[in-house]
C-alpha cells in the first residue's frame, strides 16, 4: 500500500475516529515492539556528536529525525543548495501529538467567524474560485532554528540550521477573505487555529494571532500550493497560513478557523510560549533573564554555510566553492561577506538570484586555500535595511538566532 492514499468515502473521517479503530490497536502493539527503521546520518558539526538519525515519513524524503511524536524533522543542508527547497525535503514541526493524518478535501471547510458581518464556511474550491490567486517566494523558518548552537544549551527541539525552507507559496490573500466576511469595527486581532489537537483536553490547543492591520496587509496569505504542488500533509495540507517575514510559529498548518477578535487572543501559545526578550537582538544574560518579553515576530538577518559541510576536507591549492544562504525578515539581503581567516579579513560573496524580499538569498564564493591546516570560515550578512548580525547572542528559549556563524574546515 502506498503511504499516501486518496480514497473515496462518504462523510468525513478524522484523526479521532481513526484512533479508535482495530488497526490502531495493532499499531500500538507494534509501536512497543517494532524494530526501528533508521539509517545512519552525517554528523552536523563534524565533532564527536552522534550522527543524526534519518527517517522517512509519508510524502517526505530522508530527513533528520528529532522526535517522532509529534513529528519534528530537520532538512539536511544539502537541500539548501537549490533556491527553492523541495517539498519532500521541507522541515516538519508539529507541537501536539494529535496531528491531522487525513483530510476529506470535499468536506473540509475554512471557517471565518468572530467579529465579522457574514461568517464564512469556505471549501477548498471556494478558496480557489472566489478569490484572486497570488503567489510569492517566502522563507519559512522555525523560531528555534539553530537552537543547538546556543551556549549554554537550552531545552527544546535541538535543531541544527535545517529548521527552515524557502518555497513559492500560492493561495489567496487573507485580506480578501476577511473582506469577504466583512470585519467589524472594533476587531483588534485575528486568531488562527488548525486541525491539530492536544492529546489531553486540558492542554491548550495550538492557536496564534496577528494584529488586525497585519492580518489585513495584503501580504499574509492562505496557501493551498507549495512550489506548484499541494502541501504535503506534514507541512499543513490542505491550506496553511503564510506570514511573510515572520517566524513559522505563525504559519498555522492545516488552517481551519480564522476568527476576528475584539480583544487580544489569550492563549498559552501567545502569552507564555514563543516569546523573546524585548530588545532588537532577542538577547539576554543567562544569569539575569530579561524581565520583559514579547511575542516572537520578524526574522532577524542571519546567514549559514551550506557548503562545505562540517567535517568535509578541502585540498590545498585547489579552488573550492564555499556557499550558503542568507535570511532576513523582509527587507532583503544587501550583502554577504565571508572570512577565511577567522574574521581578520572579509570579502564579498556573490549573491544568487533575487527571488523577492521575503525569500532567502543564496551566496557563494571561491576559495583556494594555500596551505594545509585548519581554517575558521565565517559568514555575515547585511540586510537592505542596514540590519547586521551580532557576534554574541543568547536567550532562554534558543530563538531568533542571528549570530555570525563559523565553520572550521580542515585543508589537506
Amino acid at each position: 500500500m502506498p503511504d499516501v492514499e486518496t480514497e473515496h468515502v462518504l462523510g468525513r473521517r478524522r484523526f479521532l475516529s481513526a484512533m479508535m479503530t482495530a488497526g490502531g490497536v495493532l499499531a500500538a502493539r507494534r509501536a512497543f515492539g517494532a524494530a526501528l527503521e533508521i539509517g545512519p546520518g552525517l554528523g552536523l558539526d563534524g565533532s564527536s556528536a552522534p550522527a543524526p538519525t534519518l527517517a522517512r515519513y509519508p510524502q517526505k524524503t530522508d530527513l533528520i529525525l528529532l522526535t517522532d511524536r509529534p513529528p519534528q524533522l530537520e532538512t539536511p543542508l544539502k537541500y539548501f543548495e537549490s533556491d527553492l527547497t523541495p517539498n519532500d525535503a521541507f522541515f516538519v514541526r508539529w507541537h501536539l501529538s494529535g496531528i491531522p493524518t487525513s483530510v476529506d478535501v470535499q468536506s473540509f471547510r475554512l471557517e471565518v467567524e468572530g467579529k465579522v458581518n457574514k461568517p464564512l464556511s469556505l471549501s477548498l474550491t471556494d478558496l480557489r474560485k472566489q478569490f484572486e490567486p497570488v503567489s510569492l517566494v517566502a522563507l519559512c523558518q522555525c523560531s528555534g532554528n539553530s537552537r543547538s548552537l546556543f551556549d549554554p544549551r537550552v531545552p527544546g527541539g535541538q535543531w541544527g540550521n535545517g529548521a527552515m525552507g524557502n518555497a513559492r507559496w500560492t493561495g489567496v490573500r487573507l485580506k480578501d477573505v476577511l473582506d469577504a466576511a466583512g470585519v467589524q469595527a472594533g476587531a483588534v486581532q485575528v486568531g488562527f487555529r488548525g486541525l491539530d489537537e492536544p492529546a489531553q483536553p486540558q492542554t491548550p490547543p495550538f492557536q496564534k494571532s496577528l494584529q488586525i492591520d497585519h492580518a489585513r496587509d495584503g501580504e499574509v496569505m492562505i496557501a493551498y500550493e507549495m512550489n506548484g504542488q499541494p502541501l504535503p500533509m506534514l507541512n499543513g495540507f490542505p491550506i496553511r497560513l503564510i506570514v511573510p517575514g515572520w517566524f513559522a510559529t505563525y504559519w498555522v498548518k492545516s488552517l481551519t478557523k480564522v476568527t476576528a477578535l475584539d480583544q487580544p487572543l489569550k492563549t498559552f501559545w501567545m502569552d507564555k510560549a514563543y516569546r523573546v526578550p524585548d530588545n532588537p537582538q532577542a538577547n539576554e544574560d543567562p544569569q539575569h533573564l530579561a524581565r520583559e518579553t514579547v511575542p516572537i515576530n520578524v526574522m532577524p538577518v542571519h546567514s549559514i554555510f551550506v557548503k562545505p559541510e562540517a567535517g568535509e576536507r578541502l585540498r590545498a591549492g585547489q579552488s573550492s566553492e564555499v556557499a550558503g544562504v542568507a535570511t532576513d525578515g523582509g527587507s532583503g539581503i544587501k550583502q554577504v561577506e565571508v572570512s577565511m581567516d577567522g574574521g581578520r579579513s572579509w570579502s564579498d560573496a556573490k549573491l544568487g538570484p533575487d527571488l523577492g524580499k521575503y525569500s532567502w538569498r543564496s551566496w557563494r564564493a571561491n576559495w583556494t586555500p594555500a596551505a594545509k591546516g585548519t581554517y575558521r570560515l565565517m559568514v555575515r550578512a547585511t540586510a537592505n535595511n542596514g540590519e547586521q548580525q551580532v557576534t554574541e547572542q543568547w536567550n532562554r528559549s534558543g530563538y531568533a538566532r542571528d549570530v555570525i556563524e563559523h565553520l572550521d574546515v580542515t585543508v589537506v
Binding site: 503511504d3 499516501v4 462518504l10 512497543f32 527503521e37 517522532d68 509529534p70 483530510v103 543567562p286
Partner: protein, 129 residues
C-alpha cells in the same frame, strides 16, 4: 489494562495509525486533485519511529506520565541539563500544558530525567517550544 495504560495506548495508536508491520515507508510527491465530484480523502500513515525508552530509575513513572504527549525520543535528543532545569520543565508541563502528574510523581520524573540526561549546568536554561 488500567485506565492510564489505556490512555497511553490510545495516544500511541493515534501517532501510529500506521503501515503494516515491516513495511518500509516510501516517499510520494503525488498530491491529490483538490477539485473533484466525489468525496475524496487524503490520508497518510505515520511510520513507527518510536524508539526505545532509555533505562533509568522511575522509568515506568516517566512512561505512564510523559509518553501520552511525547515520543520517547524527545528526551534522548536533549543535551544534559541540571536538576533545576529538569524541575522547571516538569513544572511547565503541569502548569502550562495541563499534564495531570501527581505531586508524588513529579520528583520521581525529575529523578529519571536527571539520571538519563543530567549534568551540572553553569547557567540556567529554559525551554523553547
Amino acid at each position: 489494562m488500567n485506565r492510564r495504560k489505556l490512555i497511553i495506548a490510545l495516544a500511541i495508536m493515534a501517532a501510529t495509525i500506521s503501515s503494516a508491520a515491516g513495511q518500509k515507508p516510501h516517499p510520494s510527491s503525488s498530491g491529490p486533485e483538490v477539485a473533484g465530484n466525489a468525496s475524496e480523502v487524503v490520508r497518510i500513515k505515520l511510520p513507527d519511529y518510536a524508539g526505545e525508552v532509555p533505562k533509568g530509575p522511575n522509568m515506568q513513572v516517566y512512561e505512564s506520565n510523559c509518553l501520552l504527549c511525547h515520543g520517547s525520543r524527545y528526551v534522548t535528543i536533549q543535551p544534559p541539563f541540571s536538576r533545576e532545569t529538569w524541575q522547571k520543565e516538569v513544572k511547565k508541563m503541569v502548569d502550562a500544558y495541563g499534564a495531570k502528574i501527581s505531586e508524588a510523581d513529579q520528583p520521581k520524573i525529575v529523578d529519571y530525567l536527571v539520571a538519563v540526561r543530567g549534568v551540572a549546568e553553569s547557567k540556567p536554561g529554559q525551554s523553547g517550544h
